[in-house]
């Protein structure tokens, strides 16, 4: 099977996304769930770079710009997310995601 490099890149990012998804779904530790979500975000970034590299680009810096902003947002997300983990830990003395159901309706 002869695959274009772009397709390889996309397969790579799909696989990374699914690893992140499976990790986020299967683990009960909140930190690991967050890390799984980080991996999914990274997979999205990989796509940006792949399309920037192989796509037809009218404006050469756009893909890179997207990734830079996405990384900045991811940094903010990680900081807030881990602060939340610490708060959860303080309230319920563990960080099992299933136990964090205080906002249940």
């Amino acid at each position: 099977m002869n695959l274009a490099p772009l397709q390889l890149c996309l397969l790579f990012s799909s696989a990374l996304f699914c690893i992140g998804l499976i990790g986020a779904l299967s683990r009960s530790n909140t930190i690991l769930v967050l890390l799984g979500i980080e991996l999914m975000l990274n997979a999205a970034n990989l796509n940006f770079i792949a399309f920037w590299r192989y796509g037809a680009n009218s404006e050469p810096a756009t893909g890179v710009m997207f990734v830079i902003f996405a990384i900045a947002v991811a940094a903010a997300e990680a900081a807030v997310g881990l602060a939340l983990v610490i708060t959860i830990y303080r309230h319920q003395k563990n960080i099992r995601l299933q136990d964090a159901t205080r906002l249940k309706g």
Binding site: L8, L25, R27, I31, A56, I68
Partner: protein
């Protein structure tokens, strides 16, 4: 060229998968650092050096530290490390969901015919990035700055001891 890509991809995916499967949180975090480094290597491969440096600085440098701190701050006793009984079902469910998404994505990627890409690598110098950050994307840069400030304040507020909350409650 392609061989390097496949090497990077396999290394990144393996470390990520093992990190997600490990019992020891510290080891997972360390393996994820390796995985993020692999992604940075991919950016380098694709010719986006600046993004690669940003990836290394922010993920490998900063986020990994925050994660390690969080792991250490929420270290628990040995007792609850054992897998809870109900978790096997969740793992199976997770694998089904992940497999379904992977199948859909791979099918879509393989069945799509991509226009033949340009052979030349687009080059972006740091200067160009700087100019577009200061020019076309200046507004976005400002918004990101505000977002980061708010996230910082939010994280501080969340992580401080909640004396005030107890008074309210």
């Amino acid at each position: 060229m392609t061989a390097v890509l496949i090497l990077i991809a396999v290394a990144t995916l393996c470390t990520a998968a093992v990190a997600m499967a490990l019992r020891n949180l510290i080891h997972s975090a360390l393996l994820l650092i390796a995985s993020w480094t692999g992604i940075a290597a991919f950016y380098l491969w694709a010719g986006a050096e600046f993004v690669a440096f940003a990836q290394v600085l922010i993920y490998v440098g900063a986020i990994s530290m925050v994660v390690l701190f969080a792991v250490l701050l929420t270290r628990q006793s040995r007792a609850d490390v054992a897998i809870a009984p109900g978790s096997l079902g969740r793992v199976v469910l997770a694998l089904i969901a992940g497999g379904a998404v992977l199948g859909v994505l791979v099918g879509a990627v393989l069945s799509t015919k991509f226009a033949n890409s340009s052979a030349t690598t687009p080059t972006v110098t740091v200067k160009q990035i700087g100019q577009s950050l200061g020019g076309a994307h200046a507004a976005a840069l400002l918004v990101i700055g505000v977002l980061l400030t708010v996230a910082l304040l939010g994280a501080v507020v969340l992580a401080t001891t909640d004396r005030a909350e107890k008074e309210d409650a």
